[in-house]
């Protein structure tokens, strides 16, 4: 079965190559880019499925392209956390399908830009996949940059008035955080003489001499990735960027791209827990507090938003707070919950953004008061939206429930009942603003003719929304599967702590 | 490679960076930034990284500066 690892190279290379070829495909047929992108992602998804099945059956494995031994060559490594690749493929596929119609409605989106849009989207997805499976810090940086750069460009691509400012803000903070990560990688290299994550871990553990540089590197990595993950107070770039981007892009950015910051944090933890160089309690406490503040602040700001997309963007901050807090708790339950929430929140947020995108596509409005009564005009989309809403609050039996439950259990397990309270009250706040939304959509009289006359969106937009919404339900009922799937990874991550 | 030369080069880098930071004229800042890139290039040449030095000369000092010049040409030259 040694053909298996080649899939690992393919899953990374396919979207990147597909991105490069998109303009050529566009030359052959002007309307082909979406279909080309879909075909690319279909193949990638196939490869991703193979990989996820294998890691499920046999545990983590690696691949050395070019056949160089680990410390010198490039290593791709697929572990339980890399399974996020599956979600990336799924949501990427749905977002591309959704875009095929949606981009036509964007005000300044000329059709000749279409190939670049899909190329950027594919680049972004490929970058994320690469980031999730890379086994060395060098590629970690490369893929981080690929996904960030394409992300900045995608925010601006819709061409709305506010989008360029938002993209610039995003770019500035993103670039600074990337430099911090690069700086940290330099430090780690200087101390260990290798860039392979496993080697770095081993050599850092055997390090003699001052540990201060390692601590500096840790701080740099933490700040860098926490910025990418949009944790308070480094979240300022997120709301505008996610609200200004075209809705399918928002789904990708909010569902996936910020999660890669969290994956980066998990990789960092892997190095530092593994090395056992020093006690990470301080960092964990900082993350718990930042997570708690993010939960509350994100939800609090979301309550006062009139713009639906801004509301969803703030809710992302709140939910990333859950994940970061779960990581900071550093107990098995907490980290399992946080890891699964990476997957589930991606599904939920993508559902919400696609549903809202569909509504904006039909009505042209995006504030709560303008969209009154839209639930009756577009019943299926609204049902998807409602499913997403109850999932994100964490009401059983939907996808959001079990992970939040586990994170809360983790808080009690870690003897931090205060954070248990924060988690629950955060959920309450989230609940309040989704009630506002559902209330406006279903129980208010429409004030615009466009809203009353709105019809359901075409199948190419409705299908992704409904599929994702039903997955929110399915993942809730089958919630045990991702939990048991991720558990060995978490146990291995936390093993050096002796828990 | 003498230590004196090293120190002079590094001092020049810091000075150039400070000028870039404080200059109100963006055009001047870009040009100083270009010379900063060339100094870096020189430094790396001595540090045993000629390939990186070449890349920095071409891309860092060259293309980046051109990009800045174009951008300044299309927007504004003075920083407020």
């Amino acid at each position: 079965m040694y053909a298996w690892p080649h899939w690992l190279a393919l899953v990374v290379m396919t979207p990147l190559a597909g991105a490069a070829l998109t303009p050529i495909a566009a030359l052959l047929d002007r309307r082909s880019p979406p279909w080309w992108a879909l075909a690319t992602m279909t193949f990638t998804s196939l490869a991703a499925t193979m990989l996820v099945l294998r890691v499920f059956a046999e545990g983590p494995f690696s691949y050395l392209p070019g056949g160089w031994a680990a410390p010198y060559g490039v290593e791709l490594r697929f572990d339980e956390f890399s399974a996020v690749v599956g979600v990336i493929c799924l949501i990427g596929w749905m977002a591309i399908l959704f875009s095929s119609r949606y981009t036509r409605s964007l005000p300044e989106f000329a059709s000749d830009r279409s190939p670049y849009y899909y190329a950027l989207l594919l680049l972004n997805l490929g970058g994320m996949i690469g980031f999730a499976v890379t086994g060395d810090l060098f590629n970690l940086f490369v893929f981080l940059e690929i996904l960030s750069l394409s992300g900045y460009a995608l925010v601006a691509v819709g061409g709305e008035r506010i989008a360029e400012m938002a993209a610039f803000k995003y770019l500035l903070m993103g670039a600074v955080s990337s430099v911090l990560v690069l700086f940290a990688i330099g430090f780690l290299y200087g101390m260990t003489g290798t860039l392979n994550i496993a080697d770095v871990t081993a050599r850092l553990g055997a390090l003699e001499g001052p540990t201060a540089p390692a601590a500096v590197a840790l701080a740099l990595l933490a700040v860098g990735f926490v910025t990418k993950a949009a944790i308070f107070p480094l979240h300022v770039w997120l709301p505008d960027a996610h609200a200004a981007a075209p809705s399918p892009v928002s789904a990708v950015l909010s569902g996936l791209v910020v999660k890669l910051g969290v994956i980066g944090m998990i990789r960092t933890y892997r190095i530092y827990y593994g090395a056992g160089l020093f006690d990470l309690t301080v960092l964990n406490h900082v993350l718990m507090w930042l997570g708690a503040i993010s939960i509350v602040m994100g939800a609090f700001f979301a309550i006062f938003q009139e713009d639906v997309k801004l509301m969803l963007a703030y809710s992302t901050i709140s939910n990333i707070g859950y994940i970061i807090m779960g990581l900071g708790l550093a107990t098995t339950y907490g980290v399992i919950g946080a890891s699964v929430h990476i997957f589930n929140h991606a599904l939920i947020k993508a559902t919400l953004f696609l549903a809202v995108g569909a509504i904006i596509y039909r009505t042209g409005y995006r504030t709560l008061s303008d969209l009154r009564g839209v639930g009756r005009a577009m019943p299926l989309t609204s049902v998807a939206l409602s499913i997403g809403a109850i999932s994100i609050v964490g009401i059983p039996p939907t996808a959001g429930f079990l992970c939040k439950w586990y994170i809360t259990l983790g808080a009690f397990e870690a003897n931090q009942p205060l954070f248990g309270f924060v988690l629950v009250f955060g959920a309450l706040l989230i609940f309040v603003y989704y009630i506002r939304m559902v209330n406006a959509f279903y129980f208010r009289e429409p004030i615009h003719a466009e809203v009353t006359e709105a019809r359901e969106v075409p199948v190419s937009m409705l299908l992704p929304t409904l599929v994702l919404a039903s997955l929110c339900l399915i993942m809730g009922v089958l919630g045990r599967i991702p939990l048991t799937f991720i558990e060995p990874g978490v146990v291995r991550l936390l093993a050096p702590l002796g828990g | 490679m003498s230590l004196t030369f090293d120190i002079l080069l590094l001092l020049y880098l810091v000075a150039a960076a400070l000028v870039v930071a404080q200059a109100k004229d963006l055009l001047a800042a870009s040009i100083v930034f270009s010379s900063y890139g060339l100094a870096l290039c020189l430094l790396w040449q001595y540090r045993g990284a000629p390939d990186v030095a070449m890349a920095e000369a071409a891309v860092g000092a060259g293309i980046t500066t051109v990009l800045f010049l174009v951008a300044i040409g299309r927007t504004t030259r003075r920083e407020k």
């Binding site: 009401i395 059983p396 039996p397 429930f401 079990l402 439950w405 809360t408 259990l409 009690f412 397990e413 009942p417 248990g420 309270f421 629950v424 009250f425 959920a427 309450l428 609940f431 309040v432 009630i435 129980f443 009922v477 919630g479 045990r480 939990l483 048991t484 | -």
Partner: protein, 491 residues
């Protein structure tokens, strides 16, 4: 004996489906009424079909989904749950008929009846919840489903009352959730199928926190003082909603939560050892007295009834926290006694308002001559609350008093007597006004409320009498209460 049977899930499920139908076909009056009544009757039939088995001691369970490690959704119809479900679902039929008459000309009928139907299915869900999580889920759904009903008229006053209601109950719900997580953290299970899942191996401090969280959470809905602020304000809602809030679902759900916490989460012995119950009992006693005193000074009939509810529902809490078999019986049967009497009173208040437009107590002079049947029903309910023998309320007070003697806490007796006097003080003047004072102005001819309003009122009043006189007849729900008590006390 436990039997796997789908009916405990079917009971809330069927009415969910019917409620969905109300939303879908609600624009047509006949279809709406059809689905409304089917929701109410089918559910009652499902519940009744389990009654014979339940009386024989059969417990029906149905596990819907088990997520992982003791977290799941499940249903379980034990004696206690059956009792609550029986009360709420049978009263629901009456309330539905009454609501159809009351809301005949309202604009937002579809929304109203849709949520109305949802409410009772969630109530039955609460009654049949197998574990705390399922309980919590339905408990929160009840909060949400009642919100559109409270704000029904959408006046500024109603909207503000709705906000108050949501704030209280959602925060209370969050307390319950934290408590639930802590229970799971401490025991690894959330099941309500045992007489107590917590045990003394957990540190008393932690148990205290869990107890405080769960009780505080449920007490917001029970409107135990000082968490009662939302209830009088929610009186702006239409009368059938008041019946729902006060008698059938909402405060009852809170009280049921407290009963479950005391009997099924903590268990009698543990709570007795810990001594947490006494403060709760004291709080309940204070609520009973203070709310009654406030009620005396209320001029608006519905507000007076609201404070009376706060007082009456606390009997359940008081009885539950006495931790003796007699008191437990009282706690359980009071679900039925309070519900029937209070729903009668609200029906009367609504009927008076709809027929004559009167809402204030002093306007009611002579109304007994105008609406004799209606006011007759009111009198029966009032006498029941005061605790006159042969009326349902007497049973409660009798058993609470027995429980007080059993536990040696003589001051409970004092509370009972005082509260009876106070009840008399705020209900009897109304009866006196209605029957023995001449109407102001011209003599009005007899003009009863329309049948859809009158018949449910009379049926409920009749049940108050039946429960008061024939509670010991085999097959009456009373034996269910006894079965529940035997389970709780492991007798």
């Amino acid at each position: 004996m436990e039997v796997v049977d789908i009916r405990p899930m079917l009971a809330p499920g069927v009415s969910f489906a019917c409620a969905a139908m109300v939303f879908l076909f609600g624009r047509n009056t006949n279809w709406r009424r059809f689905w409304m009544l089917s929701a109410a009757t089918i559910k009652m039939i499902v519940v009744l079909s389990m009654l014979p088995g339940s009386l024989r001691g059969v417990v029906y369970t149905f596990d819907l989904v088990d997520f992982t490690g003791g977290i799941g959704l499940g249903f379980r119809a034990d004696a206690l749950g059956m009792f609550f479900a029986l009360v709420s679902s049978s009263l629901w039929v009456a309330t539905t008929v009454y609501a159809i008459g009351y809301m005949r000309d309202d604009e937002k009928r579809v929304r109203f009846f849709g949520f109305f139907a949802l409410c009772v299915s969630t109530t039955v869900g609460i009654a049949f919840a197998e574990n705390l999580l399922t309980f919590f889920l339905f408990y929160e759904m009840l909060t949400i489903c009642t919100y559109p009903l409270v704000i029904h008229y959408e006046t500024p006053e109603a909207l503000s009352a709705g906000r108050t209601y949501l704030t209280y109950t959602l925060i209370g719900g969050a307390f319950v959730l934290v408590g639930t997580v802590m229970v799971h953290d401490a025991t690894g299970t959330l099941s309500l199928g045992h007489p107590g899942i917590l045990d003394a191996s957990i540190s008393p401090g932690r148990l205290g926190v869990i107890f405080a969280l769960l009780i505080a959470g449920f007490a917001t809905k029970t409107a135990l003082m000082p968490l009662h602020g939302w209830l009088p304000r929610a009186m702006v809602a239409p009368t059938p909603v008041s019946a729902l809030l006060h008698a059938v679902a909402v405060v009852k759900a809170g009280a049921f939560g407290i009963v479950r916490t005391v009997y099924n989460v903590f268990g009698i012995e543990l709570l007795d050892d810990l001594g947490f119950a006494l403060p709760l009992a004291a709080l309940a006693a204070v609520t009973i007295i203070v709310a009654s005193v406030i009620a005396i000074f209320q001029e608006d009939l519905k507000r007076r009834l609201a404070y009376s509810t706060i007082s009456q529902i606390s009997y359940i809490v008081l009885a539950a926290s006495m931790l003796t078999p007699f008191a437990a019986t009282a706690a359980i049967v009071h679900f039925a006694n309070q519900a029937l009497a209070k729903i009668t009173m609200f029906f009367v208040a609504g009927a008076i308002q709809r027929t004559t437009g009167k809402t204030n107590v002093h306007e009611l002079a002579g109304i007994g001559h105008q609406m004799p049947w209606t006011m007759g029903a009111f009198t029966i309910a009032a006498l029941s609350f005061i605790g006159i023998p042969l009326f349902a309320g007497f049973i409660t007070k009798w058993y609470i008093s027995l429980g007080a003697l059993e536990s040696g806490q003589w001051w409970f007796l004092l509370v009972m007597i005082t509260s009876s006097l106070l009840n008399a003080a705020y209900f009897l003047p109304i009866v006196h006004l209605a029957f023995f004072k001449p109407a102001r102005g011209d003599a009005v001819p007899v003009k009863e409320a329309r049948p859809t309003l009158l018949i449910p009122t009379l049926v409920c009043a009749a049940w108050v009498l039946l429960l008061g006189t024939m509670s010991e007849v085999p097959g009456m729900p009373f034996s269910l209460a006894e079965a529940a008590v035997r389970f709780v006390f492991r007798m």
